[in-house]
Symmetry: C2
Subunit: 412 residues, 2 copies
């Protein structure tokens, strides 16, 4: 493990010097090689799937594990999109006026070595590697044991093709053991690894955050709310609420709790409950909500702090915008929060006072996604406040450097 | 402690809503109150100084502790400068093009609650509080026991005057105990505190980093190099080297090791050693350097990794620019590194390949300071790679928020 980290550090110094065209050539070679070796990838993926089925794994986990020709094509298309993105390395990010006659620039530079610890989905092996490489970093990959064969072949293909296209040896390091000790060891290599990104279950992220000596940037959990204001366009509110809950309930930016202003509740809740019912959504609500729509079941206190990730929603009728904001700041996970209103003052208050990585006005929280917001790609959505908050793209995989040029300039 | 943290969190929500003018009014009130209560401040400071003298503390530590009328005026001038700085809160920091028809902004918002743990210098009580407030944050201050009386009176004055000028209750929290358990307790309050800034000895910073559940941003240690290239202007090189070592040797951006290209060593080292001698600097060098200037003492391996913070310098003659860069990347603390050269290619290579928060070409590392680089102020210099690297100003005391506006926009 130590040797891999040392090799990655060496490679990172070389990757930091490589220009955009050279990096794009490596990515193109990887994309080509994945296309050409589709059959081999599918063959190895099949081994993982068979093994998973034998251990009686859930269908949804198997779905995350499965690769198909189409899914591999999606992976290569993603690489091709990343090739088109602007290289963040070297871009100037601040214009300050120094107090003496020197030339000061603050530019983006690669972080160095990024380690990624992830579960199940084998596409992460490729997605993470190409994003980190495009930003000039070396990467260490530690995937889940369920996908070990798929990950091994994917890593082998991108490593081999990358090297042929000029990638430094050690630029991509794959940890091909399923031994849990490997993760423990990895977390202590803060002399060689600059950033650790865990991606997977809440337990995995928590374990990594607690034990890592390396700075951690993690995809945050999402307990997202939609608040329907008294001044909302109610048709719009219905559309947004249904989208936020039902379009893909298993993900972090799906709505878990709906808040509705008491003056809107009578108009909205009965119709919304009918729509939820049509979509197979179980609705759990406060007493007031229940009195308005009889199909609503009673919510318990823990419902307000539960991420269902399922076709269940909790509903609360609130007396005011303030109450909605307080509820969100108390129970929310600072991920994505939405208000539906035509009242500009209410929208501004919500924007300013809700503590979250992203705030949506008259839009679905499901839109919180790097490619939709214009980053072109995404390595996750952070709910941390330092370094990166919200969708993380290429820029978040870099750090900065002050470059100061003088002419024999000294300090008096 | 918990109550103070809860009160700070509440205050932070209010501070986030307050506009620039209101914040500046608070700062102006604090500046006025400090000026008016100078005598009282000096009286309490005297108590600390007497106590320090009794415990036989070093003169340099007493110097850090002492307040004078002039030093208090410096503190109030600093506040007045911060009033003039642009408020980072609300500024838009990224322009991306979303993939659908929505309006996306990424704006700066306050972090929330910042805790500062510091030693000796009582001016930090005021400097830290006003910087955090200007960026819309509440602050919790935990100063060193040596300065407890000075800190108490300073905190009392800025708190009282801040409140009168509209600061929310709890906006500044001062921990008025010298009990070490208070720090332990503080480090665990990650539910209420968003950022912890330790400022003081390496031991303090290390303790905080190891035990804190709260994200830490620390002022990094500095083992800074100056490399004199074969293509340097040698007069300039002498001037820069002397400045980097002698102008204020006790600070983090002072030079600790001088690297000199072998083709320059014969021309530079004898004269430089004479100048170092004139300035009372002890020079320890490698064998080659010693053979060129006989006044140089032998350096041991540990000299290359020692921050003297004193009138001592280590000198190494290197065979190439590459060797200089490798030496810096091996022994440096990624703080501030300088090259003296008229060769643009050499400068570019140094800029690109040296891993540091700031790289200087034909300038002294002593210039690494927020006010010189144009930030207007500084809460420290970070050698971390995440969130903030190098001089940290107001921007680094903020986080971001995506604000997305749609028109009933949903995800397909």
């Amino acid at each position: 493990m130590l040797l891999k980290a040392v090799a990655a550090k060496d490679a990172s110094r070389m990757l930091a010097k490589i220009n955009t065209e050279q990096k794009n050539n490596m990515l193109a070679a990887m994309s080509d090689a994945l296309e050409k070796n589709m059959k081999e990838i599918l063959f190895h993926n099949e081994i993982d799937i068979e093994a998973a089925k034998e251990t009686g794994i859930t269908p949804s986990l198997i779905d995350r594990l499965v690769l198909t020709e189409q899914r591999i094509k999606n992976i290569t298309e993603n690489i091709n999109n990343i090739i088109l993105l602007q290289d963040p390395v070297g871009t100037e990010i601040e214009k300050n006026t120094p107090s003496i006659n020197i030339d000061v620039k603050k530019i983006r530079v690669p972080l160095g070595v990024i380690a990624m610890i992830y579960e199940a989905r084998p596409n992460v092996t490729v997605d993470a590697a190409v994003l980190c490489l495009k930003a000039g970093n070396a990467i260490i990959l530690k995937g889940g044991s369920e996908a070990i064969n798929s990950n091994k072949i994917l890593a082998k293909i991108i490593y081999g093709s990358g090297i042929k296209a000029g990638m430094p040896l050690g630029g991509i390091q794959f940890i091909d053991t399923t031994d849990k000790k490997a993760v423990q060891e990895l977390l202590r290599l803060d002399d060689f690894i600059d950033l650790l990104i865990p991606r997977g279950s809440e337990e995995l992220v928590k374990y990594v955050k607690t034990h890592s000596l390396i700075p951690v940037l993690s995809h945050g959990k999402g307990l997202c709310h939609t608040y329907i204001d008294k001044d909302a366009d109610f048709e719009m509110a219905l559309k947004i609420a249904i989208n936020a809950k039902c379009q893909r309930p298993s993900v972090c930016n799906a709505m878990e709790t709906l808040l509705v202003h008491k003056d809107a509740a009578y108009k909205v809740l009965p119709r919304l409950c009918k729509l939820f019912d049509d979509n197979g959504v179980e609705v759990r609500g406060c007493n007031v909500s229940k009195s308005i729509a009889s199909s609503i079941k009673a919510a318990a206190e823990e419902d307000w702090s539960t991420e269902y990730h399922d076709l269940i929603v909790s509903v609360k009728t609130v007396n005011s915008l303030e109450e909605a904001i307080n509820h969100i700041n108390k129970y929310g996970s600072t991920h994505s929060e939405a208000i539906v209103t035509n009242n500009e003052k209410a929208a501004d208050k919500f924007i300013n006072e809700v503590d979250a990585a992203a705030v949506f006005v008259n839009a679905s929280t499901r839109l919180h996604d790097g490619s939709i917001l214009g980053l072109g790609c995404e390595i996750g959505i952070s709910t941390q406040k330092l370094h990166a908050r919200g969708s993380m793209g290429l820029k978040e995989l870099t750090t900065t450097k002050y470059v100061v040029k003088g002419n024999g300039t000294i300090r008096d």
